[in-house]
């Protein structure tokens, strides 16, 4: 009997300690990621003498080394401007950020200000964790809201049901546009003239150009295009993943949707102007473009610095082609936001901090000269940025996209993204030619609808409070 009890106790201990070990590993990882990069602004000797009377504001974010450096400088500037405020800047790896923030909220230790991912802002706002910034934006001393791209301010509105209208819960930290980057040298060699804002390509023009640009064999093979943005194809063709008014009905079996998906797949399958699946797996379209072996690729403006440093050819940007069926062109745009916690003890200091980090002119200038982002202040964008000597030459294309063609991705407007992930999880079947777009969309429509229903049910439950 005793032996049996002993055995059970040993089993329990083994299991628990092993479970615990996994937990500890994760925790250790989290804490090292903090310690290694956390700038510890508070501990600098010059500052410590006065900290007793200072208001302390904690700010948590992720970022590349360059971004962290910029933010540290901006925070130092902010502290000079507001000498009675002391900012503690906590840096977390981007893939651990959301886990950490949620754990901190769960533990009642939310930082005063933090990054707010566009896909997750609604979740935090609906659960009452974000400070309503609407009044602050209208009456603040740091920036003029009319000078910021309108779509950017509206991006972070939430009315308790839909994103895009209602109260403001975050300020944009940056904006990313997703144009088509093209290799000017390859265009010249193939005798292809790029489109302009006033005279855009349609899908057929794009395909014709891609055919002309596809040359060579084996190691010297050059492809005309990378994977075509499915979002752009679907939206431009007048179709949607989900109906836009209520966000409750999956519409992927709409013929316009299926046509758009098939068109994207056929660039590779039928026309051979885009790299095959196995080729993409071994070398991404993005890297292939950088090596000069791909003429047109969709990429975000966050890649500018990388392209400056690593492309030894001339390149520029252009608009996504219009659909021949509708004559319009649409593409998503991205942004990360900065939010203030609803539980902060110092809302004013925290709001001023995020406004300063978002719209400070020096910060904006640093960001664009380093190739991290494009300006969010309109006067700067149309003013000094247009004269900035580094590529792209057609900077007006970026602004045209932002003002006329950009929209928020549908999955960013739903409560969770499971339905969208499910849609993508097996989409390779279409791009490998194992299924037609029609077969694929019909086969998964019900699953997607179920996941979307779950997402909406979850939203309703959370918004009730």
């Amino acid at each position: 009997m005793k032996k049996k009890i002993l055995i059970v106790i040993m089993c329990l201990t083994f299991t628990l300690s092993a479970l615990g070990l996994a937990g500890c590993k994760q925790a250790a990882k989290l804490s090292t990621s903090d310690d290694s990069i956390e700038p510890k602004v508070t501990e600098e000797p010059a500052e410590t003498t006065e900290t007793e009377e200072k208001t302390k504001v904690t700010f948590m974010g992720w970022g590349t080394d360059a971004e962290i450096t910029t933010f540290k400088e901006m925070i130092a500037q902010y502290e000079t401007k507001y000498p009675d405020i002391d900012v503690e800047y906590i840096v977390v790896a981007d893939n651990e950020f959301d886990t950490k923030l949620q754990t901190m909220i769960g533990a009642g230790q939310c930082p005063d200000a933090f990054y707010s991912h566009i896909d997750r802002m609604m979740k935090y706002a609906a659960t009452g964790n974000l400070y309503d910034l609407t009044d602050y934006v209208e009456n603040n001393e740091i920036f003029d809201p009319d000078n910021v791209w309108e779509c950017l301010i509206n991006l972070y509105r939430f009315d308790g049901n839909m994103q895009g209208s209602g109260s403001i819960y975050a300020l944009p930290k940056d904006v990313s546009v997703f144009p088509v980057f093209y290799n000017v040298d390859l265009f010249k060699a193939a005798g292809v003239t790029p489109p302009t804002i006033d005279n855009p390509w349609d899908w057929n023009d794009y395909l014709e150009a891609a055919k002309k640009l596809t040359t060579g064999e084996g190691e010297n093979k050059i492809y005309g295009t990378g994977a075509y943005s499915l979002e752009s194809a679907v939206w431009s063709n007048g179709a949607e993943w989900v109906d836009q008014e209520t966000l409750t009905k999956v519409k992927i079996d709409d013929p316009a949707f299926i046509q758009a998906l098939q068109w994207c797949a056929d660039l590779r399958l039928v026309h051979g102007v885009a790299p095959s699946a196995s080729e993409t797996e071994s070398l991404s379209d993005y890297d292939r473009f950088k090596q000069g072996k791909l003429a047109m690729v969709g990429a975000g403006t966050w890649s500018l610095a990388d392209f400056w440093a690593n492309c030894d050819f001339e390149w520029d940007v252009m608009n996504w082609p219009v659909s021949p069926n509708t004559g319009k062109s649409e593409i998503w745009f991205g942004s990360a936001g900065l939010s203030v916690s609803s539980t902060t003890a110092n809302p004013e200091a925290a709001c001023n901090l995020i406004a300063y980090l978002s719209f400070n002119e020096d910060a904006q200038r640093t960001a664009y000269t380093m190739g991290q982002a494009i300006p969010m202040l309109k006067d700067m964008a149309y003013g000094e940025y247009m004269n900035f000597e580094k590529p792209p030459a057609s900077k007006e294309v970026l602004f045209d996209i932002l003002e006329n063609h950009a929209r928020l991705a549908t999955q960013s407007r739903t409560f969770n993204q499971e339905w969208f992930n499910e849609f993508n999880s097996n989409i390779d079947a279409v791009f490998n030619g194992e299924m037609t777009a029609q077969q694929y969309c019909e086969s998964i429509k019900d699953t997607i609808q179920q996941l979307l229903d779950d997402s909406n049910a979850q939203k309703a439950e959370y918004s009730k409070k």
């Binding site: 500890c24 893939n95 979740k123 797996e281 999880s425």
Partner: protein, 309 residues
């Protein structure tokens, strides 16, 4: 033995002397860090997890509504859960592989092969390296077109597998990686166990005319069974908790969720879908599952583990 029972009688008897009480208090104080640690980091979270599994907690808002066994009912009809369970069981494959290789390697080291210390260090290296760095290197090794592995394979087969995009092969790649990583770590245990076998056994066997083969199977292997058992239990629990490899190689769980494991699924549900309650239910069921397997292992162990007699 007599001494202990005499003492315990004394304690049970006419009330403790001041000294005895002080002693037991000191004893308690000495173990208290472990006990407190155990309570705070294991028992409490376990209790919270079990409690939360009966609620619709989302971690973000403090209100948790009691939903009864809803989360558990949902779990049994959740196809992704079953897929994840299948993928998780797949991760048990490395165990026999690395245990066999570790034993062979330990045996070779034990027999004083030239340069064994260098080899020991090299084999141990993967275990102490950052797993993120390792997976990045493996991604290059297993790159379908430019990778070393497929370049080698293409000498023998026409179409080497696309390791990173086909879930079936991604799982095999993880199996190979885990095996490779744990051979050195496991062999350290075997080397220690081999060292603790008294030489006299072998001398006696030699005198009785047993050859090296008989010595290995009749002496070495039986005396290693306690170590093997320990490694099996630890290995099985570790394998069932495979997480980082999945996160690195298939950040979305792979095509058709063909790579995602249970722990990965729990993490996704808890932190990207904000269904902490449901995640806790999966964790509880899975914890029970591991417990049952471990109990079975312990029960079976009496049949084959040599504990001396």
């Amino acid at each position: 033995m007599d001494c202990i029972s005499a003492r315990s009688k004394n304690i049970k008897g006419k009330g403790q002397s001041k000294l005895k009480r002080r002693e037991s208090l000191a004893g308690l104080l000495f173990v208290s860090p472990t006990i407190i640690y155990f309570i705070v980091f294991f028992l409490l979270p376990l209790a919270v997890c079990i409690y939360a599994s009966f609620t619709n907690w989302n971690i973000l808002s403090p209100n948790r509504v009691f939903v009864g066994t809803l989360n558990y009912e949902r779990l049994f009809v959740d196809p992704k859960f079953w897929k994840a369970l299948k993928n998780t069981l797949f991760m048990l494959i490395p165990i026999p592989i690395y245990i066999t290789f570790a034993l062979l390697f330990a045996y070779a080291c034990h027999k004083n092969i030239l340069g064994q210390k260098v080899f020991r260090a090299i084999y141990y290296l993967p275990y102490i390296s950052s797993i993120v760095a390792l997976t990045l290197i493996w991604m290059w090794l297993f790159n379908s077109k430019y990778g070393l592995v497929n370049n080698f394979l293409s000498l023998f087969v026409d179409n080497p597998p696309s390791w990173l995009s086909d879930p079936f092969w991604t799982k095999w790649m993880i199996v190979i990686m885990i095996s490779w990583k744990l051979i050195g770590f496991t062999s350290i245990y075997y080397i220690a166990a081999l060292k603790s076998i008294p030489k006299s056994y072998y001398e006696a066997a030699q005198i009785d005319g047993a050859g090296p083969r008989q010595q290995f199977f009749k002496i070495t292997l039986p005396l290693l069974t306690p170590t093997t058992f320990y490694l099996l239990v630890i290995g099985m629990i570790g394998s069932l908790q495979t997480f980082v490899e999945v996160q690195m190689f298939a950040p979305d769980g792979g095509r058709g969720y063909g790579v995602g494991t249970i722990v990965f699924y729990i993490w996704q549900k808890a932190f990207s879908s904000s269904q902490m309650g449901y995640a806790c239910a999966i964790a509880t069921v899975f914890g029970l599952f591991i417990l049952v397997i471990t109990v079975i292992q312990f029960t079976l162990s009496r049949k084959w583990v040599f504990e001396g007699n």
